[in-house]
Symmetry: C2
Amino acid sequence: MSTNNSPQYILGIDGGGSKTKTVIVSEGNIVLGTGISGPGNPLHGFEQSINSITESALLALKNAGLEHLKLSDLVAGVGLAGVNLPSLHKKMSEWENPFKKMFLASDLLVACLAAHDGKDGAVMISGTGSCGFSYVKGEEFMMGGHGFPQGDKASGAWFGLQACETVLLALDGVAPPTAMTSILLDVLGVSDEMGIVESTAGKKATHFGKMANLVFDCAEQGDATALKIIEEGIEYIMAMTTRLEQKNPERVAMLGGLTRRIVPFMTAEFRAKLTYPIHQPEIGSVIFARQQLAK
Amino acid sequence: MSTNNSPQYILGIDGGGSKTKTVIVSEGNIVLGTGISGPGNPLHGFEQSINSITESALLALKNAGLEHLKLSDLVAGVGLAGVNLPSLHKKMSEWENPFKKMFLASDLLVACLAAHDGKDGAVMISGTGSCGFSYVKGEEFMMGGHGFPQGDKASGAWFGLQACETVLLALDGVAPPTAMTSILLDVLGVSDEMGIVESTAGKKATHFGKMANLVFDCAEQGDATALKIIEEGIEYIMAMTTRLEQKNPERVAMLGGLTRRIVPFMTAEFRAKLTYPIHQPEIGSVIFARQQLAK
């Protein structure tokens, strides 16, 4: 297909664990409208995922005042968590989708394309989970992202788990006292060690992720235990970055909800290696669709 | 009640997560018969717990050739996990039990009484979980035992989790290669990083506990990563022991399924502080019952 055929409008869709966001853009990737619907991660439900994709796309058209357009007239780039698994990629590809054409990519690939405006690059992501990813000369490379509790080091869930662990040790008198103790008790709404144990037993990553911010709050006040946790997290991010650099990306961007908390604790030297992302992930979906159309 | 009233036979019952064991003893705590039934931990099901207690007691009578005795003629000491929680202690105490009299204690107290033949002492326990406990001048003190993954350091589940974490880091090239990698893949029956992630995602402590032995196997062959994990575990056990010693126990015993693996890695100096348990926990239940009868 030649670029002469490229349509005026493109839909860029990013389906994540908590919401699905669609933008409709004109040539030059100017955002004309935005639509947000429910969770779009097909790992957590295929039907919900395809409903969210369709709904957010229709909302984006409405938001842009382009209700006269039909989804069947439009090309969509869709970035979804989980579609790096072959079985899920196949299932999603076979969906009789409402679009003129749908180009499917992993959430990591569209985030990376967005971060570097379509150029080769790498991303370090630290949100509830963590992972590293590079896309260089058409080759995707992923590292980390091993899940909670055995992986996802330097993620929100990991920082929260470290907080929990060290506070419990401090309360038992086998680790130094830490300012995190009283704040953790407050955050969990409990009054003692047993309360922490009961309120965290069997909980998932998102629950521990809520305890991440207090580590940074306490470190900013000089708490030695909190600083040590952050140091270990940053060491991991540095080791990941070194591995990603071996793939020769043009840039490495740091993304995800914890970025603004972690970056201030890095050395100036290491911080200088990292860039901010250029675009939001849904623009990465647009870029991916344009790249595929141009092939 | 005076000791003149003490019955000839006593039942000692230990109800744990996987089985319930009852012994019937004569004066002098000579074991005449043993009965084993299903799980007895009331945290995992009250009905199952009371059924297992009754069943194992009847089996012990049969095993001793004392079927002519009735449970209603016999005093029972019962050690159960979870009854340190007041709500569960109340529920179990209110059970219309089949015994002449039932004396209820935590699994930790009966293990400690058993380890030290009823004398004041402390125990360090490392099985699937871990914790420390002392019983001195009638005062119970518990530490650790915070559950998986945020606590239970130096337990089987903790060693397995560390193995998993470090192997995943090694496979990503951000930690040194370790001999644990190939053995962990074998133990889990998978062939790569993704296989480890899929086979451990969302799994409970017992699943990770199965990966503990390989840490010790590899450390015995000199693997540096495995040795470092064991060192951290032993540091925790030493810190716990120091805290327990502040309670002035006469002895500190090390118990639990991992003991025989951990102890050889301790320094001779620290190892000299620890003793073997004198009796099995169910004898602790007998000792507890006799102490209560003598009050």
